[in-house]
Structures are given as C-alpha cells and as structure tokens.
Symmetry: C2
Subunit: 331 residues, 2 copies
DNA sequence: CCTTTTTCTGTAAACCTTTTCATTAAGCGC
DNA sequence: GCGCTTAATGAAAAGGTTTACAGAAAAAGG
C-alpha cells in the first residue's frame, strides 16, 4: 500500500486540505505548517497520486503523439519540437506508434476519449477525413506533417505541392527536360501532393507529361534502387530523378553508382526530407528540407490554445520549406 | 460536459452498477438489460472515463518506455517488441524521451511514482546504479539494452563484452594484428563493455594493447570520420577497425573511401548494431546484430510478471547476439 | 405450496485528490 | 475593549468508476 495524502495529514497533525494546499503551493498556508508538512512528506516518501488529482481536475496535462510507423528517425525532430513546446506550458508529451494499423490508431485515440490525455496529435493519420473531422468536433485533436484532404481539423504541415514543384523546377532550371519521378504506391497525401508539384512544374514549363517516367514503389530504399534501374533502363532515360523521400533517393543513387553513372553530372538526383543520412551518404544528396522542429512546436502551441478556448481553431498552417543543394545536383 | 456512467444508467433505467457490469462484461447481467444498456451507451456516445476506473482499480494498464535520446531509429525495433508483448496482455506502451537529460528522466519516472503508469522500462538509463536500485525496491522498473554496473534491477540486454570480443576475434582470425578501435567519450556501459571485449580479444591472442590505436569521440558518424583519419594517419596504421556502432563505422568508411582505400581488402571495418543503413551503405558493413525485438519482448514479459508477483525478479537476462558478415570485412 | 437456490439488480463505500464554504483565531482601528 | 477585517485551517462534497454486500424475484426441489 502506498502512502496517501491522508497518511501525511495524520502524521503532520493537519487536515488533508492543508496537505493539498502545501502540495499546490497555496499562499494561504502558514510558513510554519508548510515546513512541517513538507518535512513529513519527505520522511514518509510521499508521492501524490496523479489519478486522484486528474480525476478531480479533469485534466492530465498530457498530450499524446500518435506516429504512424516505427520509422522513428524521421519523427524525432518533430517530437522534440512538440516536447519542448509542451513542457514550456507544463505538459508532457507521450508517444505511441500505430505500426500502420488504422485499428490500432483508433485504439490509441481512445486514450483521448477516455480522458487519459488532454489532447492528441496525429503524425500521419490513417483515418478517413470524415472520421477525423467528426472527432475534432468534440476532442482536442491535431494533424501534423500530413494533412488530410477535406478534413476539418487543426493541421500543421508544409506545402508539399509547392515543395515538389520547387524541386523539379530547380532541375528544369539546370536544363533538364526528361525528369523521372520515384514515388510510392501508398497514396499518402504528401506523396500525392509532391507528385502534383512534379506535374505542375512540367506543365508550367511546357514539358509534356510522360507516364513512363513515373515509378511507384514503397518507402524503402530498395524501392529506390528498383525504380532507378527501371528509369535508367528506358530507351530514352531521364537525366534527372526526383524522389519523394531521401530514403528512396539514396536507394536510387546506390543503383546509379553501381552502374558507374556520374551523379550530379550525367544524372541529377533530388530527394525530400533532409534526413541525417542524406549528408552522410556520398555523394551528398540535394533535398527539400521541411521545418520539422518548427512544425512540432507550432502544432502543440495551437493545440494547447484550442484546449483553453471553446471556439477551436481548425486552420491549416503551412510552414515554409527550403531547398538544400548538394553534390547530387552538381552543386 | 461529457456523458458519464450516471447518464447512461438514468437513460437506461438501471443503476450505475449495472452499467458498469455491462461495461466489464460481467456474466451476471441478463441478456435483456445488456442489450438495452449497450444501445443507450451507443446512442449517447458514451465513452468510459478511464481516470475513474484507474483510480478505483489502482492500475492503468500502461507501461512507460523511457528512451534516452532522439536517435529513435535504433529503438524502433525494440519498441515494437515491447508493444506487441504488452498488447498481448492488455497493456499499452507509451514512449517518452529524456533528450539525454537525467533530470528530465527523473521527471518522467515520476509518472511511475504518481501511478500514471503501472511500470517503466528504461532504455539507456542515466541515473546512478544506487538510485535505480532504490527505486526498483518499490516500483516496477526495468532496464533494457543498457545494463548498469552494480544495479539491482530487472535487466534485459546482450553480453556486450562477449560481442565486442567476438567481432575483434573475427578480425584477428583473418590474420590482422593491428586493430583500431573507435569508441565514445561518453562512458555508456555498452561502450565500456565493448571496449573491454576488444581488449580481451587482443589479450587472449597475445597481441599487445596499444593505447594509440584507440580513438574516442561521439556517437555521430562525423566522429567516425575523424577517428578514421586519425587512425589511418598513424605511422603504423591499423589494418582493421572495430567501431562500437554502425553510425561511427559508416563515418569511418566514408573517410576511407575518400582516400581511395580498398575496404575489405586494405582495411577491414566492423560495426555494431546492424542498423538499416548498414546494408544500404556501399560497401555493406559487417556488424554485430543484437536481437532488438526479442529484448523488447522479453523485458515487457518479465516486467509484467513482476507486476503480478510480490517477489520481483531482478535478474539480468543476456540474449544472444550474432555476427553479420558483409563486404567491409571482405566477405 | 413452502423452502432453498439461483439469477439479477441496486445501494453505498471506496479509490485519492482538490476546492468551496464555514469556522476559528488573530490582528487592527478606534 | 469592541467590532471588523484578515489569515489559517478544517469539514465535506465532488469527480467517475468498481465492487462487496444485500436484497428481490424467479427458478428449482420437495
């Protein structure tokens, strides 16, 4: 049996109310009793039971971050932004992984409904837009990194369409007109948006869209390898390849290297995300950098604002991205 | 205001006890009322408040995984093992990061003391052995991946001494006698143990220990690059290099490649961890693989056992590792 | 038809806090 | 020294659940 506030009260010869006041630094308690009660708490090794407190106050000061897969390295910077922003306001951030299972995602969301956390941030949600919209009506919920088309909920992300366009425009600016695209079968919103940016860039530059220059695979680097083999094996192969993620781009470059291609000269490569490895891997990869920390920070700040207000902000915030130019584009 | 068990009871014309029984699938409730109450819960959109339940039952069915840094990619497999083992027994695993701050680690451990979670697993604890030992007396706590010398608490890890020895023995077996070591300034137990294994292997093969062949840096890949530059710049440079992590080994290989070294022939490289990139990066890295998933699974199983028993198991479980041989050692 | 089980349901206490309200004692002004 | 404010404390309710216990009705047994 754990020691409770009652035990402390009895041992200190005061009421539980007074102990509670000491615990919460209420000004009304006399210095004398404050000392005495504090000492007793110390002696008994008392640690307040948060369940009692949380129930009484109907708040936990905890926010749940729900990540999609275990591909954590990518999230860590976002999570750091979230944690620091949350901690600054007295909140803790807990992380849980869905392992790409929508049912498990809903199971985790249940922590929100059951008052085990005060709010939840979905990093790459797997539910339908309508489902999230509905939940967002009664719960403090936010999306980060991945928006959901037509979803009415607080969202913090970047403009993936524009980012994709910028990357491809850069390749076009270097004089390339046959540009390959390696994306994913999985129709995640970010993939879709980046592809859209790819097409927009071509269109605006009067370059015909060629279905044959598109390869769809998985998020694994091996898929980049396969995609690159396919593209470079074409009759009229591309002279530049845009991949919707760095992992894929690195896999693609691996194939090119094995074929003796002069990367950055014969063929240009552009990635997306600016993961740590993109500047460890040689040749260094040109890529789109998105503000991960800033997104994490903002989503928490907005979410906490929502928790305090009764007219929730359901805006979509799009933070600015930037291009990082390295050897793979000959820079 | 949320709908409570009381509202359901009133709407269904039964007592709260009955509603609770429906909620918990008690056999004693008649089929008739079960149906009626269920329907009302559905209609009102009732979601039980876990805080009330947790308080009453004094258990949350949640386990906290405390990770050291944000270098998450490494943990993800362990966490997966933990989550699946936990879920199988009706527990959820929540993750929180200390960002290498011992104070914040203690702050997170407080979730355990305050009954917000039923148990905690530390993946690379930063506290003193005595502190953890003390806490383990009254709380359900476990260490995973990193043991702490002299700490009396449930631990699941691998035998890092033997693993280091095995790796270096393999290099020696290939006829090498000047073997460099790249490790970390940070005296983490795993680094210390792997170094110890390195020394043991030399010793058992009658190779003199040469202080000059040791480079201590950080966990970053750049540190491996620097270390390799130092080692290969020696008057009598090593012909094989053992790094205590893959990240470091990859950084080291990067330097070697830039110098035109024939990796796997002129100089052999051995890493540790078998991270995903170690077989993406070319040349593929030979490394020590530790059973990440299995460690996660086991630590949860043992921890849950401890939570149910009143004589806690404080053993140290060491799971078997294995060598993965690739191009970097000429295989 | 009466007794004894069995089945189902309700009452109320318990879990541990926080907080409102009331109360007592002390301090102050005159 | 009297009335009044202020400071410090306590008693008790509240928050949402689970569960031990008791009770009523129905079924079973004779």
């Amino acid at each position: 049996m754990s020691v409770t506030i009652k035990d402390v009260a009895k041992a200190a010869g005061v009421s539980v109310a007074t102990v509670s006041r000491v615990l919460n630094n209420h000004s009304s308690v006399s210095e004398d009793t404050y000392e005495r009660v504090s000492k007793v708490m110390e002696q008994l090794g008392y640690s307040p039971n948060h369940l009692g407190r949380d129930l009484r106050k109907s708040e936990t000061k905890r926010i749940l971050a729900i990540t999609a897969s275990a591909e954590q390295s990518f999230y860590s910077e976002v999570l750091k932004g979230m944690e620091e922003a949350a901690f600054a306001q007295g909140y803790d951030v807990l992380i849980a992984a869905t392992h790409d299972d929508p049912k498990h995602e809903m199971h985790l969301l249940n922590m929100l409904f059951s008052h085990s956390v005060d709010g939840a941030v979905l990093l790459g949600a797997k539910q339908e837009a309508s489902v999230i919209s509905k939940l967002a009506e009664n719960h403090n919920i936010a999306l980060c990194l991945e928006r959901i088309e037509g979803c009415n909920a607080l969202t913090v992300t970047i403009d993936n369409v524009k980012a994709g366009k910028d990357a491809v425009n850069y390749l076009i600016g270097k004089g390339h007109r046959r540009i390959g695209l390696i994306s994913t079968e999985t129709r995640s919103q970010s993939s879709v948006d980046r592809e859209k940016g790819y097409r927009k860039a071509l269109e605006e530059n009067g370059i015909p869209y060629d279905e044959g220059l598109i390869y769809l695979g998985t998020y694994e680097s091996e898929s980049g390898t396969t995609g690159c083999r396919y593209l470079l094996g074409l009759e009229d192969p591309p002279t530049a390849i845009f991949s919707i993620s760095d992992m894929i781009a690195i896999g693609a470059m691996n194939y090119a290297i094995s074929k003796g291609v002069n990367i950055g000269k014969d063929v240009l490569f552009f990635g997306f995300d600016n993961i740590a490895y993109s500047h460890i891997f040689v040749p260094h990869l040109s890529t789109v950098e998105q503000p991960l920390y800033a997104q994490g920070k903002l989503v928490i700040e907005k979410l906490i604002e929502n928790m305090k207000s009764d007219i929730p902000d359901k805006s979509i915030y799009m933070l600015p991205h930037s291009l990082v130019l390295r050897e793979s584009t000959g820079d």
